[in-house]
Amino acid sequence: MSGVRVLVGTHKGAFILTSSDRNGRWDVSGPHFAGWDIYHIKGSPLSPDRLYAAQSSDWFGQVIHRSDDGGKSWAPVGNQFPYDGNPGTHQFYDGTQHPWEFKQVWYLEPSLTDPETVYAGVEDAALFRSTDGAETWQELPGLRSVKGHLWQPGGGGMCLHTILQDPADPDRLYIAISAAGAFRSDDRGQTWRAINKGLHSDYELPDAEADVGHCVHNIAMHPSRPDVLFMQKHWDVLRSDNAGESWREVSGNLPSDFGFPIAVHAHEPETIYVVPIKSDAEHYPPDGKLRVYRSRTGGGEWEALTKGLPQKDCYVNVLRSAMAVDTLDPCGVYFGTTGGQVYASANSGDSWTTIVQDLPKVHSVEVQVLP
């Protein structure tokens, strides 16, 4: 079919929402993998009907599925994520050292250049790569050598939750870890360095400007300008104009600069979106008003987008992987909430409609434009 396919991962299954025009009826398929926690489900940019989904469960651990027909049918694939060698220890919540232990997959990133290659970000934080369509996974252990003993869990665990590929340079990868920071590889993931200069974590770290340990919640880029990165940190919204070599704060007039997701408009590289949350202790929108904030100036100056969103008594959260944009014109923006709503805007955020309103807690939202 042509149109838009929205892939939603929730606390109790995956849902696939499709529409031919974004403004009319949405078809809701699911729950897929009913009862499983779906942290992420994402399609290959090279082969859109090739989908990968990560299921996890406190009972039964990690499972990965692959679909080659756009989610109509699924096959279980590799679920073994062995750390390379003895992974040693990282910092625990209380500052002591704690052994590295695999818990679950947070993020799946299909390759931009090879449909059989896919990356996985996991907890305890590490990056894995499969080159056989997710049948087998190999760690890229160079990442953990970047002061891994100083990484520590954020509120959600010590998770590698964001993977970005540079479309202009297949050797370059960016990842983000909570709570370790942002990292860059210029050799396809073999070696890494921290790119956290300019981040300040006054309330979270003994050294507010440490190389590693920052609770980065999400990073985003526009594919036409891969050296420009945007970051939602625990507190603070930041940007980098030099591939992460340095960052500057662009929180500007946001009502709160705490939040989780950040996204870039598909056609305007200086237009970005965040969802301000009141604080680290109060994970809901300020004043009970669900507002997406848009900056058309790459940060600094922000406007509230409220039309169609609840403006009273709203106390949901929007998690770090739960916002995405499509590539249609005008750009579509989508996000899901911990209250189970998925909202869509077909006009770059000017107004919003509710696609579904009673799903389980939404972990992730991805969008595909179908030919």
């Binding site: 499983w36 469960s57 009972w59 039964f60 499972v63 279980p76 679920n79 073994q80």
Partner: protein, 98 residues
């Protein structure tokens, strides 16, 4: 032939029924039963016990003949009623896990 009852998540994952019958070689231990189960349904590897250490996952329990076998050594012989197929070996998700 040993009868195994699987929790919902796992029989759906294995695309089978709630109860499966597995031929288990002697000696019929929990370990042997799980080896046979995973051989027939490889997608269950890692979901009941660790891929490498073979340790039972924390929120998985084994019940047989009204007894909790979760903490018995995995090389202990299963009860005769289970080995004869009169009673199932039940693989259960712990109540605390969900």
């Amino acid at each position: 032939m040993i009868r195994l009852i699987l929790p919902t998540h796992l029989w759906r994952l294995a695309n089978t029924d709630r109860e499966v019958e597995i031929e288990v070689a002697d000696p019929a231990t929990i370990e042997a039963a799980l080896d046979a189960l995973e051989a027939r349904y490889p997608m269950l590897r890692g979901t009941i016990r660790d891929h490498v250490t073979k340790e039972r996952r924390a929120y998985v329990r084994f019940f047989a003949c009204g007894e909790d076998w979760s903490h018995e050594p995995q090389d202990m012989l299963l009860p005769e009623a289970v080995v004869k197929g009169e009673q199932p070996l039940r693989i259960v998700g712990a109540m605390a896990g969900g």
